[in-house]
């Protein structure tokens, strides 16, 4: 009797926080809130997939297991799950299985951490051709999201591939396409469907098509170096159009750290001569796609690009892009668009008044200004930018914003998960609880180990079948 009463009284003092999404920004923010204020919050995580961890699972490349070490930290949530401070609602999509209205009625605060849901598109004549694939789909394909299993059915007979855009995702994709299957991929968590297709791949040349210049490159030196070092795996760096930047680089003189290191790196690998591989990749700066040439059988033959050049503007002493008037054609059997991931507004935003512009929720230090007790963190708050490091810092700041928000602290008592569980039960909706996920993942590990892999990702349907 006593225990029940005590529970009720503390429970009513707890601030109920709903978090939409279970990627790194969600976990880092929640763990930080609970570290700072272990006794003031009850937190529920809503994740549309049965499995947690967002892009750490379906984005980060299979040969970067060290980046995925952050999952060890996320698993610290188990302690809070046991005490009921946190509950995981996997397979619950907000704005589909539950409305934002349901959340605002039952929670004191809402944290939007739902990341990106698509890839940016580049439009040009022919860009809807079936052999032009978005990096978002391609990444999900090799990272074992079975909804994307059919994105690539075969790479037999595919020799030349063009990738449009040059961020780290483009570099991940080059490693996938050219890396040695046995040495690099076989023992990773890559999907078995991708592994089988890569084993029979004929891909030889990857051309990266980059609209802007070398000094605006998006990829990091770490990823660049990793790719250059694949020379030892028989993957050759076939160069970059250095001559187009000679004048600019000479006139600028001293460069910032990152660009200086980038150019040194490119020069070093170019000057050290070619490896003996016959597979290779090339960086084509100052090129943007304007169309495709198609073979009689309907497949793509070439990607057409228009060329620009760097011109010095005497008036403002800046280097600017100017059309060169030239058009080039680049042999391409397949084209991959890798111009970034994109966040989209949830469909109830208009109704409840949340402003979404330029790929992010409008916010001030994570606080959504025009609507009370609402916050955002991670990619949805910053237009899909940055790596785990950014996400960690962002999460620390947003956790601080949340625990110091007077409106939230003084908000009336709300029911939290109690009401939500009733709604989902009435809909007969299947919830994947944290324990269910742990069971799913242990099966993934068992299955993967049989193949000499750390784990094999199950499809969402397979996961749901395992849940009672």
């Amino acid at each position: 009797m006593n225990i029940t009463r005590r529970f009720l009284s503390t429970n009513s003092n707890l601030k109920k926080l709903a978090v939409i999404g279970s990627g790194p920004s969600s976990f880092y923010t929640i763990l930080q809130i609970l570290k700072k204020q272990p006794n003031n919050f009850q937190i529920d995580i809503f994740e549309k997939n049965p499995s947690p961890f967002g892009l750490v699972r379906y984005g980060v490349a299979p040969d970067h297991p060290e980046v995925k070490n952050c999952i060890d930290k996320f698993n610290e949530i188990s302690e809070f799950i046991k005490t009921g401070k946190v509950k995981y609602f996997g397979n619950v999509e907000i704005c589909k299985d539950l409305s934002l209205n349901d959340l605002y009625k039952n929670y004191n605060g809402i944290l939007y951490a739902y990341g990106s849901s698509n890839g940016n598109k580049v439009e040009f004549p022919g860009s809807l051709h079936q052999n032009i694939i978005n990096s978002f789909d391609f990444v999900n394909w090799y990272n074992g999201n079975h909804n994307y299993k059919n994105v690539i059915k075969s790479l037999k007979g595919i020799k030349d591939i063009s990738i449009i855009g040059a961020g780290n995702v483009a570099i991940d994709i080059i490693r996938i396409l050219l890396g040695d299957v046995n040495k690099r991929w076989k023992s990773t968590d890559i999907s078995n469907h991708a592994l089988n297709i890569l084993k029979e791949s004929d891909v030889k040349n990857v051309n990266v098509i980059i609209r802007r210049g070398i000094l605006d490159s998006k990829f990091t030196n770490k990823e660049l170096r990793e790719l250059l070092e694949m020379r030892d795996e028989g993957v050759e760096f076939k160069g970059w159009n250095k001559e187009d930047f000679d004048e600019q680089l000479k006139s600028l003189g001293k460069l910032d750290r990152v660009n200086k290191r980038r150019i040194d790196l490119l020069n070093k690998y170019k000057e050290n001569g070619n490896g003996n591989g016959n597979k290779g990749w090339k960086l084509n700066y100052l090129r943007s796609p304007i169309g495709i040439m198609v073979k009689p059988d309907g497949n793509i033959k070439e990607l057409l690009v228009k060329v620009s050049k760097m011109v010095h503007n005497e008036e403002n002493d800046k280097w600017e892009y100017k059309s060169d008037g030239k058009i080039e054609s680049i042999p391409s059997d397949l084209v991959i668009l890798a111009t970034g991931y994109k966040c989209e507004p949830l469909n109830e935003f208009k109704e409840i008044g949340i402003l979404f512009e330029n790929g992010k929720i409008i916010n001030n230090n994570g606080k959504i200004e025009n609507i009370k007790n609402s916050y955002c963190v991670g990619w949805v708050s910053n237009n899909s930018q940055g790596n785990i490091n950014n996400t960690v810092n962002d999460s620390m700041n947003v956790a601080e914003t949340i625990i110091n928000d007077e409106d939230l602290i003084n908000d009336e008592n709300k029911e939290g998960r109690k009401e939500i569980e009733i709604i989902l039960k009435n809909k007969k909706h299947k919830i994947v609880k944290w324990e269910d996920w742990e069971k799913i993942h242990s099966i993934e590990i068992d299955q993967g180990n049989k193949d000499g892999k750390p784990y094999n990702k199950l499809s969402f349907n397979e996961m749901l079948e395992l849940v009672k």
């Binding site: 970067h64 060290e66 980046v67 070490n69 952050c70 060890d72 930290k73 990091t220 030196n221 770490k222 170096r225 910032d256 750290r257 990152v258 290191r261 230090n365 994570g366 910053n382 930018q385 940055g386 790596n387 785990i388 490091n389 950014n390 960690v392 810092n393 962002d394 700041n397 947003v398």
Partner: protein, 156 residues
């Protein structure tokens, strides 16, 4: 104090002239957790952290411990997201210039990750790559503080 460091940004790398103010604080009793070794009596090395709050904390540690492990074992705010694999830069520290040159130079991998650290200074290092040695006895390192606005600027 560290907000000023942060403003240095990646563009203008200046030798940071922070005042690693000399104040006297007690040395914490030695606690051993996780990966840390117990120093042999008489061979204790000392490290002082300047936390984001501006507090100084000094610990006695053994040769061979890295700064990430030391920070985490003592519950300081250092994330170490990649578990010390030099793949995240969440263990960024700013080293007292007096000690910076005594640390073996960063290798390419560490430099690549330092590229991505916020508020990089000329004496920045990654905690997981700096290993305690006799030469580093008495080293002082600061944990950088960043505001969100600063991060956004840095990212663009």
């Amino acid at each position: 104090m560290f907000r000023t460091i942060a403003k240095v940004g990646t563009r203008s790398l200046q030798r940071n002239t922070l005042s690693f103010q000399q104040r006297t604080f007690g040395v914490s009793p030695i606690t051993f957790h996780g990966h840390l070794k117990k120093p042999n009596p008489g061979e204790e090395l000392h490290i002082t952290f300047i936390t984001k709050e501006g507090d100084q904390k000094t610990f006695e540690v053994a040769e061979g411990d890295n700064i990430l492990d030391i920070a985490q074992a003592n519950h300081l705010d250092m994330e170490g997201a990649c578990g010390g694999s030099c793949a995240c830069s969440t263990c960024h520290i700013i080293v007292d210039p007096e000690y910076y040159d005594k640390i073996p130079e960063p290798d390419d991998d560490e430099n690549d990750m330092l590229d991505l650290a916020f508020g990089l200074t000329e004496t920045s290092r990654l905690g997981c790559q700096v290993v305690m040695s006799k030469e580093l006895d008495g080293i002082r390192v600061a944990l950088p503080v960043l505001t969100r606005n600063f991060m956004n600027k840095d990212m663009n």
